[in-house]
């Protein structure tokens, strides 16, 4: 078995017992990237040299007998909307094509101090706006399970990097499903922590009240290991949550007795693949058989939630993206007057989806429309939050689908923004409520494409999500864990 097929926890153990060196591990992933990424296009920027440099340093420190973080030497891929010092951070936008941040995001500082080699920056929908990674200004990323399919988005690059063995762990960001939906489409584990659990400092803002950095990994234990590193209060982020961070890796052994699980009944299942609904029911009966109390919970506001989300997120985006005006950094198109410079820079620098959302958001915040749109959406958000509070009085955990369909074809929804928006329907209300949510492999569609389950817990109960994910990993019928990449000459031994 190749090193790149190992999970982060396995690699961590092997590195700590000096079975392998960090350079060997990193080299294995870099070679894998060289081999498959030209087909998959998960990375915008690769940083092989820096990664090997870090790995070399970690090996040296380990030789010196220094106390190292369990993740020291375990490589990682980073979504390209997370600021990395001296390394360009493009947000997959022309407007930031050559932007090099002079500072590290708080999560990057954590990765660096733990000694995790950064393999590169992964592709996304421009400014994280999209559900297919097709809105990248540079190129789309392809789903390793079927190259004609999208990997989901916006953290498509990170999801593909992990799914295809190009990185054992990846950072993503989730505003309205951008970690969970691609995780589900690529058959990996995607965790969106509680809003505020992980610092947003350095995450390029899309919709500040919804944006959350999270993790894409091969399994729950890896997520736990990584969450231990990045979770916690950050004095640089006023919205980050104070309080102790538990050891997420401790006590992951699931015990289901008396666990109350609410299976989400969606207001409308229009557009849901029947196999998705079936998958959720199967998972529910597995839980029931294993001793959990399973009931049904309806979140009647789900439909309104989607509408509210597509007002609140664009409203905040219209403000957050105002700074890209060509004056200080990034792309500047010039002009004879300041207005002309603004207009040309933004006109050429932003792609169509970003422009669409800036327009929607500007409209929603405008005098005369504010009450009818933004304010009303905020009221819906409050109601959504309350309906979660109600649901969590009856249930410890909510179970649903992470995506209404398996991966769709490239180009299938690009002409119809509303259809594209609907692909986040399962994820969005969790985001509005700010609660933690996790997507995990839920089985295979008859087409062979992966399906994903989604678990949602009350605020700060990430541990419960990880325990439940461990349960499913152990007891549910597992589809193959990794895709067969038959475009690689001679195939590969990817299937476990």
């Amino acid at each position: 078995m190749n090193l790149y097929e190992k999970t982060a926890s396995e690699l961590s153990r092997m590195l700590q017992s000096r079975e392998v060196s960090a350079v060997e591990v990193t080299t294995s992933f870099l070679e894998r990237i060289d081999q498959v990424d030209p087909h998959l296009k998960a990375f915008i920027t690769r940083t092989a040299e820096q990664a090997l440099d870090t790995a070399g340093r970690i090996d040296y420190f380990r030789q010196q007998g220094e106390q190292l973080h369990p993740l020291a030497g375990v490589p990682v891929a980073v979504k390209d909307n997370i600021s990395t010092m001296d390394l360009r951070t493009t947000c997959a936008s022309l407007i930031l094509k050559d932007y090099i941040p002079p500072f590290d995001a708080t999560v990057i500082t954590a990765l660096k101090s733990a000694g995790m080699p950064i393999l590169g920056k992964t592709n996304l929908d421009e400014f994280a706006m999209g559900s297919s990674t097709e809105n990248s200004a540079f190129f789309p990323t392809r789903n390793p399970w079927n190259l004609d399919r999208v990997p989901g988005g916006s953290s498509g690059g990170s999801a593909v990097a992990v799914a295809a063995g190009m990185a054992p762990l990846a950072l993503g960001s989730d505003t309205g499903g951008s970690i969970r939906q691609p995780a589900s489409l690529c058959r990996v584990t995607g965790l969106r922590p509680t809003y505020g659990r992980v610092s947003r400092y350095g995450l390029v803002a899309f919709a500040s009240s919804l944006d959350q950095i999270g993790i894409i990994s091969m399994n729950a234990l890896d997520s736990a290991l990584f969450l231990n590193l990045i979770a916690g209060y950050d004095p640089l982020d006023s919205t980050s949550l104070p309080g102790e961070v538990p050891d997420y890796t401790a006590g992951l052994e699931p015990g289901l007795e008396k666990l109350r699980v609410g299976v989400i009944r969606y207001g409308s299942t229009e557009g849901f693949d029947p196999e998705v609904t079936e998958m959720v029911q199967k998972a529910a009966s597995l839980l029931e058989k294993s001793g959990a109390n399973v009931g049904e919970v309806s979140l009647p506001l789900t439909d309104y939630g989607l509408s509210a989300y597509y007002l609140i997120a664009p409203a905040e985006a219209s403000s957050n993206l105002g700074r890209y005006d060509g004056v200080r950094y990034g792309f500047c198109a010039g002009g004879d007057s300041i207005e002309e410079m603004f207009n040309r820079t933004r006109g050429k620098g932003f792609g169509p989806e970003v422009k669409r959302r800036i327009m929607i958001g500007t409209y929603a915040l405008s005098a005369g429309y504010y009450d009818a749109y933004y304010l009303k959406a905020m009221k819906v958000r409050t109601l959504v939050r309350r309906s979660y509070e109600e649901a969590f009085k009856k249930y410890d955990l909510l179970l649903g689908a992470a995506s209404p369909t398996p991966a769709f074809k490239l180009g299938e929804k690009t002409g119809d923004p509303l259809q594209m928006y609907l692909s986040d329907v399962c994820n969005i209300t969790d985001s509005l409520a700010g609660v933690p949510s996790l997507a995990l492999p839920g089985g295979a569609h008859t087409s062979g494409l992966p399906l994903g389950l989604q678990l949602t817990a009350p605020p700060l109960r990430e541990k419960l999500l990880l325990q439940m994910a461990c349960f499913f990993e152990k007891y549910s019928e597992q589809a193959p864990r990794r895709p067969v990449l038959d475009f690689i000459e001679g195939g590969s031994s990817d299937e476990l």
Binding site: I82, S83, T89, C91, L96, Y99, P101, P102, F103, A105, R200, Y201, G202, L203, V204, A205, A207, S208, S209, P235, L236, D237, S238, T239, A315, E316, S318, S319, G322, R323, D325, V327, R328, Y329, I338, F342, T362, L365, S366, A367, Y370, Y374
Partner: protein, 476 residues
């Protein structure tokens, strides 16, 4: 004039913090452009704001000093607009939930004391500064931008439309400045831009209750230019109206050179700032105990102090005004008054010679020990030194902080008032200046002054002038 003038002011005051509102960058004035900047105040992608607690304290103190009602919960909002000096394309400000509501300031106008009401007091961040090629915003070929100022905490104070002339506006501003200086919230230096004032001004027919169309006047860089600009604008609007024209709602720029207001932009399609709650900051929730504590920390404010100075020290109103205009000067006076009982005399010295010497030696009053002035005046009252010597010693004292008693002792400056000591000197001077004596006898009064001067020279200025005069007149 057939019109009533209605003026409301919008005042921006930079708070006296060492660092900016949302980051640790220095607020120092006059540094090299773009040297006091970081990812946060430059609005780099991914940066986030964090409150400066000190700025909130200073803002609250200012609000309390202005009798404004501090809100236990307030909120920050984004004011969105595009301008090169605004790094994030929005200013973090407060919209419908300001830090404090209402308030007033009692100001003495020519026709008596008026209570000028405030609408609100709120906290926001400063923008950067544009430097236009050719020094004027109009027709500049290019502009440079300095973000050192961006993110400095700014207090916005909005008055009710209750002022009626340029002079009233100036008086109000002067008093506002004094109160803010007392509260310690700002250094209020108009020339450095740490206190700025925009004015909304409109005219309406006398007796009418409906407000007329207003113009906004900006770029007034001193109290004097506020008065000039507003008076100019009153005149302009009056001309327009009396000629049957209409005032259009616009923003005007005060041109200090030409001494006139120039229309900058029409406000007819007024900007839509698309305010919405700043999602990067939590609402500001204050404990009432914290507000009470800040309230306790406030010093006695000028209006109250003026009254007290008049009552306690028997000062005239004018004297009380002068002594309260500067908090440190008032403190100095009151400290010195503990050791010197003739308060009126003390007040005269403080606002006269002392202020003069402080200006001359570029010193601040808080650098000087109040007890020293008391000692000096006691020496004078006891007749140990004469007035000219007292003035010289004051100058020395302000410059070096030297003790007047020591100086008198060390330099033998004590006044010579004994007849026995003075008589031989007077006789010597008379003998040496027969011509002057002769002139005096012929009625030339000036000659006496000359002879006094000679005796003073002989005694190094220490002779008691009264005694000296008596002996001289007796002898010639």
């Amino acid at each position: 004039m057939n019109y009533d003038v209605v003026i409301g002011l919008e005042i921006h005051v930079e708070l006296l913090t060492a660092s900016k509102l949302f980051c640790g960058c220095s607020t120092a004035f006059g540094r090299e452009p773009n040297s006091n900047c970081c990812p946060v105040c430059l609005g780099l992608p991914g940066s986030l704001p964090v409150f400066n607690r000190r700025a909130i304290e200073l803002a609250l103190k200012a609000a309390l000093a202005l009798n404004s009602e501090v809100q236990l919960q307030s909120r920050f909002d984004r004011k969105n607009y595009f301008y090169p000096d605004l790094p994030k394309a929005y200013q973090v400000s407060q919209y419908d939930q300001p830090l404090a509501r209402g308030g007033y300031l009692e100001v003495e106008f020519e026709d008596g004391i008026h209570r000028v009401h405030l609408e609100r007091v709120h906290l926001e961040e400063e923008a950067g500064k544009l430097i236009h090629a050719g020094d004027s915003i109009i027709g500049a070929g290019h502009s440079l931008v300095d973000y050192n100022r961006a993110g400095i905490p700014l207090l916005e104070i909005v008055t009710a439309p209750e002022l009626h002339s340029g002079r009233e506006a100036r008086y109000f501003l002067e008093d506002l400045r004094t109160v803010l200086l007392y509260s310690g919230s700002s250094d209020c230096k108009m020339e450095e831009g740490s206190l700025r004032c925009d004015a909304n001004i409109s005219l309406r027919p006398k007796g009418s209750r409906e407000l007329g169309t207003k113009a906004e006047v900006k770029n007034m860089n001193s109290f004097r230019s506020v008065e000039l600009a507003l008076d100019y604008e009153v005149g302009r609007q009056e001309r327009v109206l009396s000629e049957g024209g209409k005032v259009i709602q616009e923003t005007c720029h005060w041109d200090e050179e030409k001494k006139q207001t120039i229309a900058l932009r029409s406000k007819e399609g007024s900007s839509d700032y698309r305010y919405f709650p700043e999602p990067d900051l939590l609402p500001l929730v204050l404990e009432s105990s914290f507000i009470e504590e800040l309230s306790r920390q406030l010093p006695e404010l000028p209006a109250r102090r003026r009254e007290r100075l008049q009552e306690q020290y028997g000062l005239e109103k004018e004297e009380a005004f002068l002594l309260t205009a500067n908090r440190d000067l008032g403190d100095f006076f009151e400290e010195a008054a503990k050791e010197y009982p003739d308060y009126r005399h003390l007040a005269k010295w403080v606002q006269g010679d002392l202020l003069y010497q402080l200006r001359e030696s570029l010193k601040k009053v808080d650098e000087l020990e109040p007890g020293l002035l008391a000692d000096l005046l006691l020496l004078l009252d006891e007749g140990k030194i004469n007035r000219p010597v007292a003035k010289e010693l004051l100058a020395e004292m302000v410059k070096t902080g030297a003790d007047p008693k020591e100086m008198v002792k060390d330099r033998g400056l004590e006044q010579i008032s004994g007849r026995d000591t003075l008589l031989p000197v007077v006789e010597k001077v008379i003998a040496q200046n027969p011509e002057a004596v002769e002139n005096y006898r012929r009625g030339k009064k000036k000659a006496l002054a000359f002879l006094v001067g000679r005796v003073m020279a002989e005694t190094q200025g220490r002779a008691d002038p009264a005694e000296l005069n008596r002996i001289l007149q007796e002898k010639i």
